[in-house]
Amino acid sequence: MQTALEKAIELIASGNAELINILNVTAIMTLSSSVLALLIGVPLGVFLGASRFPGRKALIVVNRTLMGMPPVVCGLIFYILFSGVGPFRAAHLLFTVKIMIIAQVVLITPIVAGTMEPYVEGICTTIKENTRGLGLGRGKSFFLLCNECVYQVFSSYLLGFSRSIAEVGCVAMVGGAISWKTNVMTTAIMEYTNKGSFSIGIALGLILLAIALLINILLSLIQRRASR
């Protein structure tokens, strides 16, 4: 164990090429999917939280269900859709980083929307009453609502990001965990552990833990800032 840990630290310090490649693929997939999920999920969450229309509650239930969708189920759906027998086979996206990003967006968007929606609903009525009471226009009222949501947007993004970076089932199914191509940190840890090569797995695990720690510190700072 000690030798594997020493080797892991050495791999990180020396900038091992395979390790760098895995980190690179992980960064591309995680950042792309979380930003896209943010761009879709935030307006969706604000819309669900601030609007009143028939079917809204049903949509919220659907979104909450999707928040808990098992990643392997998402992976399975995308695998079927894009495999040789699926309707989108001509796109030739299976086992590419692109399909991993698309699948992750489907997984994370409900989380971003689902964390925005109750927050917006909680403040929206009071803000509406206050801004209408002052006779402020819709544009200014919407701007004020968005301004109140800034820290929640950061929190939702970080939640989406942490889900994306820690996800394994879905990306393994649609990406195939191909070395030097679609292998991300989580799938690589599984692969190297299965091979009995613990050092690179430990190195990746240490990096993942460091990222998780960083995200938690950022979330705490955001929560502290938001309360001021």
Binding site: I127, E129, N130, R132, G133, L144, N147, V150
Partner: protein
């Protein structure tokens, strides 16, 4: 000023049913009643914050409304006040009258309930309105702040000549502030009475209310 009749129903239960009524411009009306009598809903409907089930928008005037739950936007106190107008001098005068001068640079999120209510009142009074609806504006304030608020509202009313409606649980405040008292019971307008005639209510319902709250 004529208020068109209106009704509002929640979950099949009629919470407010007001007949059309004529009110005098430039007066202060206190709206009183027990909990759940429909006071807040009534002012929300009149102020156009909520839509009535029947009837059109009851008033086509320039209306200001201070809700029961005021909101502190994520900015400092001065910026919050100036959300409703860019007259810095007016903001300073109002802040001074409400004892907020020392808090102007502070984040509005850190204000106490009473300070928030004072800020919200200053923010509302940054503009001149034809009609003001104030839903328990002093409920969170101490005696000193309440006195300052009442003086400020009266001063504003005298200067602008607007009509003011104040929802209040305090009969003493209604007596101090208003020209006329509107008593609501179970969503209905049970009685209207000039403040100087509160010793001679017409209905038993209002008499019981006055005996209980006036003691």
């Amino acid at each position: 000023m004529i208020i068109r009749g209106l009704t509002k129903t929640y979950n099949g239960r009629c919470v407010v049913e007001l007949p059309s009524m004529e009110l005098n411009d430039g007066r202060i009306y206190a709206i009183v009643g027990t909990n759940g009598s429909g006071k807040s809903t009534m002012v929300k409907l009149l102020a156009g914050i909520e839509k009535p089930d029947t009837g059109r928008k009851p008033l086509d005037l320039n209306i200001g409304y201070m809700p029961q739950q005021s909101y502190a936007f994520r900015m400092n106190v001065l910026k919050n006040i100036m959300l409703n107008g860019d007259d810095a001098e007016r903001a300073m005068v109002l802040s001074e009258k409400m004892g907020l001068t020392a808090l102007l640079g502070k984040s509005a999120k850190t204000l106490s309930g009473g300070e928030l209510a004072r800020m919200a009142l200053c923010r509302l009074l940054m503009k001149d309105y034809d009609v003001l609806f104030l839903d328990e504006p002093t409920a969170a304030m101490d005696i000193e702040a309440t006195a300052k608020s009442e003086a400020l509202i009266k001063d504003y009313q005298e200067k602008t000549g607007c009509t003011v409606f104040i929802v209040s649980h305090s009969l003493q405040q209604a007596k101090r502030m208003s020209d006329e008292v509107i008593f609501l019971s179970e969503g209905r307008l049970a009685e209207r009475c000039p403040t100087n005639r509160l010793d001679a209510p017409e209905t038993d319902e209002f008499r019981r209310f006055l005996e209980f709250y006036g003691s």
